[in-house]
Amino acid sequence: MKKIRTSHVYIVVTHLLAIIAFFTSLLSGFRLAQDSDFAIALPALFMPQGDVYFWHGLSALCWLLVVILYLGFHFLRPQPLRISPKRHRVIHLLYLLLALSFCSGVLLYLALPNLPYLFVQFCHYWLALLLIVVVIWHLIQHLQLPISQWLKVFIPGRQPSNQRRYLVLSAAAVVAITVSYAVSIFYPKLSPKLVSKPKHVAIALDGEATEWQHITGTDLLVAQGAKGAIKTVISAKAMHDESVIYFLFQWQDSSENLTHLPLIKTAAGWQVQHNGFGQDDEIGNYEDKFALMISDNARFGAAGSIHLGSQPLDNAPPSRSGRGYHYMQQGMADMWQWKASRLGHMAVLDDDHFGQPAPVCQHCPRYTAGYQADPKDSGGYRMNWQWFSESTVVPLRLPTADAWQRLAQRKRFAISWWDTEPYSEHLDNYPVGTQLPSVLWLDSFDGDRGDVRAKAQWHKGTWTLEIARDRDTYSEFDMALTSGVYLWPATFDASQTQHSYPQRPWQLVIQEGS
């Protein structure tokens, strides 16, 4: 009988691991690319849905293991690979592209503030496509050979007993596994820190940074968002006293967007000026927003809360934007959403959370899975239509005669509920072209949803947002702000759901004492 050809067990393991890591990185990466303008549209089959960040993260760890194993083997293996120079060229190309993918991936993950993030992301994507070509080339080259010649890479052979080398190799394996394990467990420790200092001055919540001059801040890069192409740096500062913690966030935004889905009178009736709102993906006719998520873990993909794809959750309605759902598998993440117009009349933001997916609602147009507002009894704002439709709508309220003047003087195109009366056809004698605000301001939130105070101002291309919240609200929908929690900021530039986000969060450190 002919002897079966085999390879060194190290080659077999490393090669198999590389194959698994490659397909996991590639497929999860295809889904991650869904919001990138430059990405090529692919059939759903090649784009896994759900917690793909987790799989991309896992594959990244797998690559780390491959690198360590490979380096270990490279220096220890008994003899060089006996491959033809032609095949070797392709393998060298594979090494090069894999190394570049790995490095660019790590750069993206670390996302240091001065990284040309979008360029690196573009390279990371095209490297992935190049890799496909080279891997196929590698396959073709090998599969042309007799089966015994390529099957050996999957069949571990018995090695001549050489105790010393065996020991060294085992040690290398242990090191590799330990390092990967340590990275996976301790990478939160590598998170950038947001240090909160004891407060010595009174803080007026006015969206001005005057009280914050002597505090040192920390920067975090956020990227993506509407039209797939922004990169901005958010700077943060924090102060606290025994019961309250204060935050200052500043980020660049060339324009102050305060207009929110205005209504316009047409010959057919009132229309909402929109561009994607029917699919939960409004871009353009929307106010600026800022969100801060607070989680107890720093897992890849917004603490594991983002599940991408048009149907990431079985037995739930598809995501109308086709982009995905925020929800937690277990536990919850607190989430605050500052809204430039809808809450512009008060010093408050919208206190929301990402919880487990809500029960499926047969009668609701939009399902939001785990993204839910904290409970309120009343207050906040209301949209000025009886029911949203892409064609025409019937307004809920019309401004009273003297309210128009107040509206004209206001920066925000929004109106107080108390300045309006119920819509009726006989009051609606406005000429075609009239604009009506869609935002109806109510009084303060009554309930958990109003737990966070906030005020912002836009000045010369920068938003300055001040936030204050009790360190603990004792609400089941909020997280206590203690040292160790993670803070994930996101900016929404005139968009409803497309937002920038960071790869890694800040970790909050509350510096007690004076």
Binding site: I136, L313, Q330, P359, Q362, P365
Partner: protein
């Protein structure tokens, strides 16, 4: 061949793993079949003329419950006869003019009791019915949705958006106390007729049977 099979296979594996992770996380998120929100054809939205509205569309003003054969009033944010925050005292035949609630009437608020709303809805033939009345405690309890999202009013999701998390009157009267159903806690309580509580009227008009046959298509708009 291998290269083609692997991606497909892995997609399946990834998806299966994500789903099983989701299952581990307790995402059996279909509301169980006993609860009000789950049954697909139990409720139909109706306009104020009594015409059916597709499940995910609107606006709607009444909700028909196929299982109970009941039509429910849907409240409104406008400060009119259907204002969701209007409160009512319970109507006592021996004290017909005792009005201790506060009801929106378009222009301002007036004192009111439960019978005022009953009369008004019947008078305007609301949602095509003239048999509006205060529901029995048993009817009112049939609306309680224990699977509602935490912190939300315990009513079937998406059908009664303006529901106060407080006690609603029933018609059950025992020893000068009226049974109420609290839509914040889902619990049954008792109140004297002089209290101000919330009110959602019901109709069990025979002519409503026509709605039992209405298909509820999920047309999005």
């Amino acid at each position: 061949m291998k290269a083609l099979l692997l991606p497909a296979g892995l997609t399946q594996v990834l998806r299966a793993m994500t789903i099983s992770l989701a299952a581990l996380g307790g995402l059996g998120c279909d509301v169980n079949s006993h609860s009000v929100a789950g049954a697909s054809s139990r409720f139909t939205k109706l306009t104020h003329q009594g015409e059916a509205v597709a499940a995910k569309s609107g606006p709607w003003h009444c909700v028909y419950d196929q299982v109970q054969g009941l039509m429910w009033e849907v409240k409104s944010v406008q400060e009119n006869a259907h204002y969701y925050k209007s409160t009512y005292s319970w109507f006592l035949a021996e004290k017909p003019s005792q009005r201790l609630g506060s009801c929106g009437v378009g222009q301002g608020f007036v004192p009111c009791h439960s019978e005022d709303l009953v009369r008004l809805l019947n008078q305007i033939n609301y949602c095509g019915s003239q048999q509006w009345r205060v529901p029995t405690a048993q009817e009112l309890t049939s609306l309680v949705n224990d699977a509602a999202y935490p912190g939300k009013a315990k009513v079937p999701a998406g059908l009664f958006p303006h529901t106060v998390k407080g006690p609603y009157w029933s018609s059950d009267f025992h020893h000068s106390q009226i049974t109420t159903v609290h839509f914040g806690s889902g619990e049954i309580g008792r109140l004297g007729p002089n209290n101000a509580a919330w009110l959602r009227l019901v109709s069990s008009d025979d002519s409503l049977k026509q709605h039992a046959a209405i298909p509820t298509s999920d047309t999005l708009h």
